[in-house]
Point group: C3
Chain length 317, copies 3
């Protein structure tokens, strides 16, 4: 594709000559037919053999760059990704429904949807336009998936929630009649499982990004633009408001609410509601500053105890 065509499609200003671009490549690997990007002066020494560059406006007129065909962008790392897409640089590309997928005939599949081999789509499922469902993904009956979602390999959407009642000393399963409803532009990681609701829906809001091996239990409500890192576990009926960030391996007990924009540190055990906007950490979660003060105090504790015991002994003598 011509660089000039890419410039138009990306809506970026084009300086220097026009060349044919075969692919996007990192600075370290790029050659004369590649488009790459640079965001800091220190990388300018490495661009000699690169065909074209995406650069921020403040680098656009550096001497070494002036000889290059180049596009100006305020977000080079994103525009390079968009360029890659336009150039067809995709992974595990497939289009339409793969013959080794298994899609129920009552499912409603949007335009431009790609469903990989081994994926299973249940009865009455709705999948929005341009969503990608990767290999081995299982989506249970009646779940709703928005547009432009990416559901990565071996994720499971809509499995039965984990709930039991004792009946005559036997554990009886509580049937979960509900579904999972995924809004637009959601990404869901490999091996992640989102259970369906007892009634109604387990919900993931638009633009939210979920990493690998995250467990989301029945009836959880997750807001928009949240970031949920790998191996997080969210128990039943939790409410995660918009813009929450949960670092890796966080666990939440059932029925708690995490306020909008809160940030939960890695491996935190969330055992109570979390106020909006706060940073929260600790094995037994609390405000970050307090949790760190406790950690520091505990590390001093063995020495402190010795000192105090010596003091008390002296004064009691």
């Amino acid at each position: 594709m011509k660089l000039s065509k890419l410039a138009i499609d990306l809506g970026l200003e084009h300086l220097g000559g026009d060349i044919s671009i075969s692919a996007v490549a990192p600075v370290q690997e790029a050659g004369v037919e590649h488009l790459s990007f640079v965001t800091a002066k220190k990388y300018l020494s490495k661009i000699e053999n690169i065909g074209a560059l995406i650069v921020p406006p403040d680098l656009a007129n550096e001497a070494v760059i002036e000889s290059k065909p180049r596009l100006l962008s305020t977000v080079p790392s994103l525009d390079v990704a968009r360029a890659a897409k336009l150039l067809g640089q995709e992974y595990l590309t497939f289009s339409g429904i793969h013959p080794k997928a298994c899609v129920d005939q009552t499912a409603t599949i949007g335009d431009g949807v790609a469903i990989g081999p081994g994926a299973v789509i249940g009865a009455g499922v709705v999948v929005g336009d341009n969503t990608v469902i990767q290999p081995g993904v299982v989506i249970y009956d009646r779940c709703e998936i928005g547009a432009r979602c990416i559901i990565k390999a071996n994720a499971v959407i809509g499995g039965e929630g984990f709930g039991y009642e004792l009946d005559n000393c036997r554990l009886e399963s509580i049937t979960h009649f509900g579904i999972v409803r995924i809004a637009d532009d959601v990404h869901i990681g490999s091996g992640t499982a989102i259970d369906r609701a007892r009634f109604g829906a387990t919900v993931v809001g638009s633009g939210t990004r979920i990493d690998n091996m995250v467990h989301i239990a029945h009836n959880v409500q997750i807001g928009r633009s949240c970031i949920i890192v790998a191996q997080v576990g969210i128990s039943g009926s939790c409410i995660i408001e918009d813009g929450v960030v949960m670092a890796g391996q966080v666990g939440c007990v059932p029925h708690i609410t995490i306020g909008a924009g809160a940030r939960i540190g890695a491996s935190t055990g969330v055992i109570s509601d979390v106020p909006a906007g706060i940073t929260w950490t600790g094995w037994f979660g609390q405000p970050h500053r307090k949790a760190m003060a406790d950690v520091v105090a505990v590390r001093k504790l063995p020495d402190f105890m010795k000192k105090v015991q010596a003091f008390m002994k002296k004064f009691e003598e």
Copy 2:
């Protein structure tokens, strides 16, 4: 199905008229052709448009209910689930062996077993009657699965245990000749992995319920009617006795025993045997009451240290 037929099949007392029921639905969504259930007076205001109800005996003669066709049950949430099953409300329903499953011809598959697309059943595997093996489940050679089990999507039963010996500075795998033996009425969550034993069997007792993404290592012995919540990890050769409850993200070091009926709090690290019947918590697990006392003390520690230091300074002057 007629409500009167459901009453007979469920063994419940039937009051009021008889109507045709198309499906079970939650109170919020139920209409004239639905069966729903109510367990508390506060929900009675919402039942006006609902065809029929399952109610506990103490609500059966409330004024607003007396106009409704109704079934009496001491466990409405369970009987509504049983009704749903009778009405054919299932998820990812399939019967028999799906043509996209892969079942070894030497496996023994019971009556009424359903095996989903993409499932793989190895040589010599035995699957009991009416067990459901969902899509993408892999069961290795010679494993034994009981009757009425549910193994959810992408679970892996009988993979090789994780064990190595050093031989001339190289890690050599220890071959695991054993199997996994799952008793009757066991549920196993999505993405859960249960490794086969070195010799003999890794065992899960009857009626035990295992949530998503649980790791159960080689030679673990799990008793009957245990509840093991998502993302728990149980190391090799642990013994989990009957009726143990393990909350989410618990981890157990190898070779420990958790006594019957013990309850392990979320994210607890179990690093020693746990007595029967006790509640056990803590990053470094101990009895719950003691663990909570420690947490409270640590939260007071920074202030306490300041106070004691001021005191000591004053008295040393």
Copy 3:
């Protein structure tokens, strides 16, 4: 197979008579046509009905053994495993590319590779000789897998890394152009996910063993002969040097280095670089001895506080 043939193939000394061996079996289950092994005197009472044994040299002339056909080995548990392989005792055995696998025609598949049903191999993937790819494994485009690797059921190799940038208040995905490069003799557990690099490669060194449900983020560099136990999570760009052992459920924040031969205790939160050779533990990781001293001190803290408060009260009166 004749025991004498096994002795030659395994390079072991053969004492006693020659018999035909049908299979390897544990002492508890072995019969006259089996080969088993014993490593301690206490098991000698159980060998009466066993056809042949592998024993360490110091047991070779015990009275009860002298009547048995036997092979001498300094590592009986490994040689019994090797014997099992020679006898064809494998699990989920398949050879070549299973017709229910999905291998891109541009992938390069080595000699003796076995790819199970439901596995998906992307464009340009390279798989080394004698590697086993089990059912449901997904390997994304251009990833490189070494020789003699075992990738267990439902693992995902080369999924897109988890990285986002804010663009006009929307989360935009950062495209990951890189790959995953797995060296020779690596084992990867069921459900484990290894994400591809932003540029270049996420790397796993030769001989490293990774257990089930481990999350390895983009650009992580893992050395040779590491042992990474189940449910560990390693964040982006971490460096794990040769011979590191990480116990179950360990978590690492991004961009840290764990030095060669370090041992990380179960559930440790690694939030800083770890020196080579050290043992490291704690919710907030630190040297093991210090972490344990802190645990002991905290357990004494509630009583200590009471004592000190009583002391201060007495002296202030």
